[in-house]
């Protein structure tokens, strides 16, 4: 198998966007009849690599060989003609058309006048049968579950006799039964000699289905491995970066241990709190002045857990207690009235209001809390804004600057300033240091530590494990949408222990 010529061979691919090196000198190959997992954290370059292959992005340097011949595609349609089909995470199908129409759209068999409908239905049925799917071609697509729609999307991708099938996170919204069905289809395609590129965030799925694994990090190739020869622990540490030894050396800062006495009532306590399809029921306690870190990979449920604590999503299992009082957080407003703040990881979509100024963005939380009628006096607003611009070093230090013109790191600081300005008792930070430079990162970490020392309770989420280990009193480990463990941080809790938990869900024996 390894001696055969690869169907796709990408060599030395580099792509640069303004200010960002999205891919640097990345090699990638796909063999016929294999499932090849492409993995990496956010911003690693997975989607960029796929888009480079299918011609969505122009590559700045490097070569793409398909069947040994150099090819440059002008777009996904062009790539599809050459036998490279892509199924995206969000299903791009028409819910109001029938399954057969969706499968055959663009490839309808034609007669002299218009479409040959019976032939179309017959061909669609054949395609479905080839994948071993029992779906009525005449039924409306919208009537089916997401999983079935996903399978129809794959079926549609195979209509053009694809030899390469790209599946971009197809399992992120499927339950385990549906994933099993998807995998059956993938296996049967593999036996037919199709090369499958599979992007996923679920570790178990990588080991269940993939033959080989390519890991990307920050736009660089980490390596290509036979999946069976890559231990879970190594996979995770390669994804997150830095070898274990180096990581341990980094932890020179004194470790922080539990900050509360035995008999204290937790400030916040989740009891069996959960939400179907988002995060499985979990218990979590948060004491005054404590930092609880959430460790886990992207998609492990760490964000979903945080959203439940803020009322951004409503829970459908368990309950929440604040100071021992059962409390229902129906909306973010209710959470805010209990002095809880939440800074989302999606800075643009869920954080900042792009066209407003730095001052307006910082004051938004405080002003929303007061209601529209009582405007915060300009003088007070200027004081608050000046304080946080100074404290966080926001550049440019101009409150009238439109926030969308700031750099990513400064936008993050503006968002942080908004929540600090509300002086919360509980601060939930989802990836507060993503995309900002090392200096600013250290400043924000120091700030969080000093806020906690002053009595603020913090839930801290970060993809960077070292950060979580440095700041947290306790660490909750998330894996595949489930809280799998909780550690009290101390000198003898190391990177490897947490990595092991993330990788296998079990503590080292």
């Amino acid at each position: 198998m390894t001696t055969a010529q690869p169907v796709v061979q990408m060599t030395g691919i580099s792509i640069e966007f303004p200010g960002v090196k999205a891919l640097q000198d990345v090699d990638f190959r796909l063999l016929a009849g294999e499932v090849h997992a492409l993995i990496g954290e956010n911003g690693a370059g997975k989607s960029t690599l796929i888009k480079a292959l299918t011609g969505v992005y122009r590559i700045d340097s490097g070569t793409i060989l398909v069947d040994g011949a150099p090819r440059v595609f002008s777009g996904p349609a062009h790539a599809q003609k050459a036998g490279i089909s892509t199924v995206y995470q969000e299903i791009n199908l028409c819910e109001n058309l029938s399954v057969a129409e969706n499968i055959m759209l663009g490839h309808e068999p034609r007669r002299r006048r218009g479409i040959d409908w019976p032939a179309m239905r017959r061909q669609a049925a054949e395609q479905l049968a080839q994948l071993g799917l029992e779906i009525d071609p005449g039924s409306m697509l919208g009537a089916h579950s997401l999983a079935v729609q996903q399978l129809v999307a794959i079926c549609r991708a195979m209509v053009v006799e694809a030899r390469v099938l790209i599946l971009d996170e197809p399992t992120s919204s499927l339950d385990s039964e549906e994933v099993a069905q998807l995998f059956r289809v993938m296996r049967s395609l593999r036996e037919q000699g199709v090369a499958i590129l599979f992007v996923t965030h679920f570790i178990e799925q990588i080991y269940e289905i993939s033959d080989r694994t390519t890991i990307l990090r920050n736009g660089l190739l980490v390596g290509e491995y036979l999946t069976t020869e890559l231990p879970r622990l190594e996979l995770v540490s390669k994804m997150i970066g830095k070898s274990l030894e180096v990581l341990e050396k980094l932890e020179e800062a004194p470790k922080r241990t539990t900050a509360h006495a035995a008999g204290d009532t937790p400030l916040l306590q989740a009891v069996g709190l959960g939400r179907r399809g988002s995060v499985q029921p979990f218990d979590l306690e948060l004491y005054r002045g404590e930092v609880v870190g959430l460790a886990g990979l992207l998609g492990s449920g760490r964000t979903e857990l945080a959203r439940l604590l803020y009322g951004a999503d409503r829970s459908d299992a368990g309950h929440l207690e604040l100071n021992g009082e059962p409390t229902r957080l129906r909306s973010p407003r209710v959470a805010m009235s209990h002095d809880i703040s939440f800074s989302s990881e999606h800075r643009k979509a869920e954080g900042l209001v792009a066209d407003l100024t730095v001052r307006e963005n910082i004051m938004l939380g405080l002003q929303a809390d007061r209601g529209w009628a009582r405007r915060i006096p300009r003088k007070r607003a200027d004081e608050v804004v000046a304080k946080y611009v100074e404290l966080l070093g926001i550049r440019p230090p101009n409150p009238e600057a439109v926030v969308s013109n700031l750099s990513g790191g400064n936008q993050q600081k503006v968002l942080l300033a908004r929540w600090l300005a509300t002086v919360p008792k509980i601060l939930i930070l989802d990836e507060p240091t993503r995309g900002i430079d090392v200096g600013a990162k250290a400043e924000i970490q120091a700030l969080i530590a000093s806020l906690a020392a002053e009595g603020m309770s913090v839930v801290f989420i970060s993809a960077e494990l070292e950060e979580v280990l440095r700041l947290s009193h306790r660490i909750a480990v998330m894996r595949d949408r489930k809280k799998v463990a909780e550690l009290v941080n101390s000198e003898d809790v190391g990177m490897d222990e947490v990595l092991e938990l993330i990788a296998s869900g079990k503590a080292t024996p």
Binding site: E350, V353, D355, L356, G365, Q367, W372, R374, I376, N405
Partner: protein
């Protein structure tokens, strides 16, 4: 050159050009006379006929800023006039100030209720604004017909007539009413936090929700206000002619209002809004209408003339044309370097 980049430059330029063209054709156009303590003249006429449209457009500006739209304002104009005139017509003393006061109260209260209905559909049930308000747009004239029993109601009531064609402090009453409402809304949105919260909801609803903004009540309030203003516009429109014509009063006023908002530079995608821009937009539209008669343009090509002016303004304001202009200036003056923040 920076004056050209101001977003009100082109609408204002259009207004000035129209007034200049009219003045060249008919030198009297620019004259304002004081007769019996009342101001008269073409410019005053423009202000007077602008009043109902300005009232409607001010509300429309707020609705559009929240990413919404309100198609039902024309229907609310018809209902409000029909209710007020029918009440006055059926009362025993149509000329008493009390009767007129009650009629105005009932009409505006009903307008508010209709706005609350729109707001409920949009903010609570989450129906798309264009669909939600289309319901009342279609049904509203039916309601007005029901109120007037299908007749064009005419009445005689001096106090009510004042609303449409009276004078106060030398100015036409409709101009004063619209001016006061405009000033109140400007103060309400810019001196309180309402304007900023409306913009924040319009730009990024999810971020606003997570920041604790009461998006629902803000959107609801905006629709209620819009209908209230449309109700006031309906009173003025019916008082001008002292007749409630359920089929024709306020016809297409929603489209003119949307046009005025767009000419004023507020994006239909929501977010940043400009009440001053809307005022200029309204004046441009109404000056256009008057220009048609003064410039002697045949009525059959009037819509075309209107369309050409509007297209010109909107094209000049479009982001692509603005960037092109900016790029050309930068080419001629290479010293001015854009500083990226």
């Amino acid at each position: 050159m920076s004056i050209v980049r101001h977003r009100l430059f082109w609408p204002l330029a259009a207004l000035v050009v129209l007034i200049a063209a009219n003045t060249i054709k008919a030198p009297n156009f620019i004259r304002i006379r004081l007769v019996d303590g009342h101001l008269f003249g073409a410019l005053i006429d423009i202000l007077r006929t602008s009043a109902p449209l300005l009232l409607v457009a001010v509300g429309m500006t707020l609705v559009i800023a929240t990413r919404g739209i309100d198609l039902s304002v024309g229907a609310v104009v018809a209902i409000s006039g029909a209710v007020a005139l029918t009440f006055i017509g059926s009362s025993s003393d149509p000329t008493s100030l009390g009767t007129v006061g009650v009629a105005v109260g009932i009409a505006l209260a009903l307008a508010c209720v209709l706005g609350i209905w729109n707001g409920f559909l949009v903010s609570v049930l989450g129906i798309q604004p264009i669909i939600a308000t289309l319901i009342l747009m279609v049904a509203g004239r039916g309601i007005a017909m029901l109120v007037t029993n299908g007749f064009i109601v005419t009445v005689n009531s001096a106090p009510y007539k004042t609303i449409g064609s009276g004078f106060l402090l030398s100015m036409p009453v409709p101009v004063l009413i619209a001016g006061v409402v405009f000033a109140v809304v400007a103060v309400l949105t810019r001196r309180t936090a309402l304007g900023m919260l409306i913009e924040s909801v319009g730009i990024n609803p999810e971020a606003s929700r997570l920041a604790g903004v009461r998006a629902r009540s803000i959107i609801w309030t905006v629709y209620a206000l819009t209908a209230l203003f449309a109700g006031i516009a309906g009173l003025i429109a019916s008082a001008e002619v002292m007749a409630a014509d359920a089929n024709n009063v306020g016809l297409f006023i929603e489209l003119d209002a949307i046009l005025a908002v767009v000419i004023g530079g507020t994006s239909l995608a929501g977010g940043k809004f400009s009440l001053g821009g809307t005022l200029v937009g309204v004046l441009v539209i109404k000056t256009l209408v008057l220009s048609v008669t003064i410039l002697g343009i045949p009525p059959s090509v009037t819509p075309l003339f209107k369309a050409i002016v509007v297209i010109a303004v909107v094209v000049m304001q479009s982001p692509i044309v603005r960037t092109k202009f900016a790029a050309r200036r930068r080419a001629t003056a290479p010293v001015a370097v854009e500083v990226a923040a």
